[in-house]
């Protein structure tokens, strides 16, 4: 075994309890869980509404979305995601982790890492729309309220990632 190094991150169980308390307060205050991908959808719809209003009026998805959402940017998730950016920045500042860098395994190039991040993001973005939420909105928040769909999505995300891990091992180990 390697020599034990002092960890610079929180103990994961303490982090988990803290995250659970954040999720609990979201449910207690707002009657809903945490999320992330929904805010990006708001940005996409708003961008299309602004840049190509004709297209938004004539395309099924945006038409439906705009009928049920008066102002997509004035949504709970958009405000929450702005908070995530601030909270992450604050934590990184206190822990002296602010630094521009491409994090990757020493065995692969930065370019390869960025290409895979882009492709992975595209998959995740598409899947989050089809699955009605990502790891936070569907899996974690869904599990906390015991949603059947939340458990199914959680099992599929982690199950698939485990199943495919072998094929992408060069990128990570």
């Amino acid at each position: 075994m390697n020599e034990v190094k002092k960890t610079k991150y929180w103990n994961p169980y303490i982090g988990g309890v803290m995250l659970g308390l954040v999720l609990l307060s979201a449910n207690f205050i707002s009657g809903r869980g945490l999320g992330a991908s929904g805010a990006l959808k708001s940005v996409v719809v708003t961008t299309v509404n602004t840049v190509a209003p004709d297209h938004a009026e004539n395309t099924a998805f945006y038409k439906d979305y705009n009928e049920t959402h008066k102002n997509p940017m004035k949504s709970w998730l958009v405000f929450q995601v702005f908070g995530v950016l601030v909270g992450g920045f604050l934590s990184g500042t206190f822990a002296k982790r602010l630094k521009f860098k491409v994090e990757h395994s020493p065995k692969i190039s930065s370019k390869r890492r960025l290409i895979f991040a882009l492709i992975g993001g595209a998959f995740f973005g598409f899947g989050s729309q089809l699955g009605r939420g990502c790891t936070s909105g569907s899996a974690l928040s869904g599990m906390a309220v015991l949603s059947l769909g939340g458990f199914i999505t959680m099992a599929c995300i982690f199950g698939t990632a485990f199943g495919l891990a072998y094929f992408f091992r060069k990128n990570w180990i």
Partner: protein, 196 residues
């Protein structure tokens, strides 16, 4: 009493402000737990770092237990809490696609926001990818609509589905989580790694 906004104890605008504060807590905890590092997140799938498993399940059971006690004390009306609806097919297919995205990209959307906030450029590429994926879905929506809406089951909870009480299922889940933590600790000893 709770949820506060549904019971009109706080206004919708206050709710949005509190969403911002909740987001700060969310981002702070994610970053402090190491979720701003894709190599740490991906470590879960190779056994060298099971932080994701520990944080994720500890959070889920903490929130779950909290809700159970809040409801027991009459602090929150569980019937007013949003329960994610279950569309069986899209939950499975969407989850599988997200899992593939996770192992390739090393982030999920929430952790990517957290990572970009401290300057990780691979998270920026991931977020660029997220936009591409979301636009592919919204533009091609008519093609996916059938799958998206197939097998709607309402908003069942998993304990109803299994015919168990909320408390009993929660107890089982907590026991299962502790079992997984034990496996995680074992795996980390077996596959040692450096701290990123």
């Amino acid at each position: 009493m709770g949820p506060l906004v549904v019971n009109e104890i706080i206004s919708p605008d206050t709710n949005l402000f509190l969403a911002f504060l909740i987001g700060i807590g969310f981002g702070f905890v994610l970053e402090s737990s190491g979720f701003s590092s894709s190599r740490k997140l991906a470590g879960m799938f190779y056994g060298y770092d099971t932080t994701v498993l520990k944080v994720f399940f500890t959070a889920a059971i903490t929130a779950l237990l909290g809700m159970l006690f809040f409801s027991l004390f009459g602090w929150v009306d569980l019937s007013l809490i949003y329960i994610n609806p279950t569309f069986l097919h899209s939950a499975i297919v969407g989850g599988v696609i997200m899992g593939a995205g996770f192992i390739m990209g090393g982030f999920c959307p929430g952790t990517a926001f957290c990572a970009i906030s401290i300057g990780k450029l691979d998270a920026l590429a991931f977020i660029g990818g997220l936009f591409i994926g979301i636009v592919a879905f919204t533009e091609g929506y008519p093609m996916f609509e059938e799958l998206y809406k197939a097998e709607f089951m309402g908003t069942p909870t998993i304990n109803e589905f299994l015919g168990l009480s909320r408390g009993l299922f929660s107890f089982g889940l907590i026991a299962a989580a502790f079992g997984m933590f034990w496996v995680g600790e074992w795996a980390e000893k077996k596959f040692p790694r450096e701290e990123y």
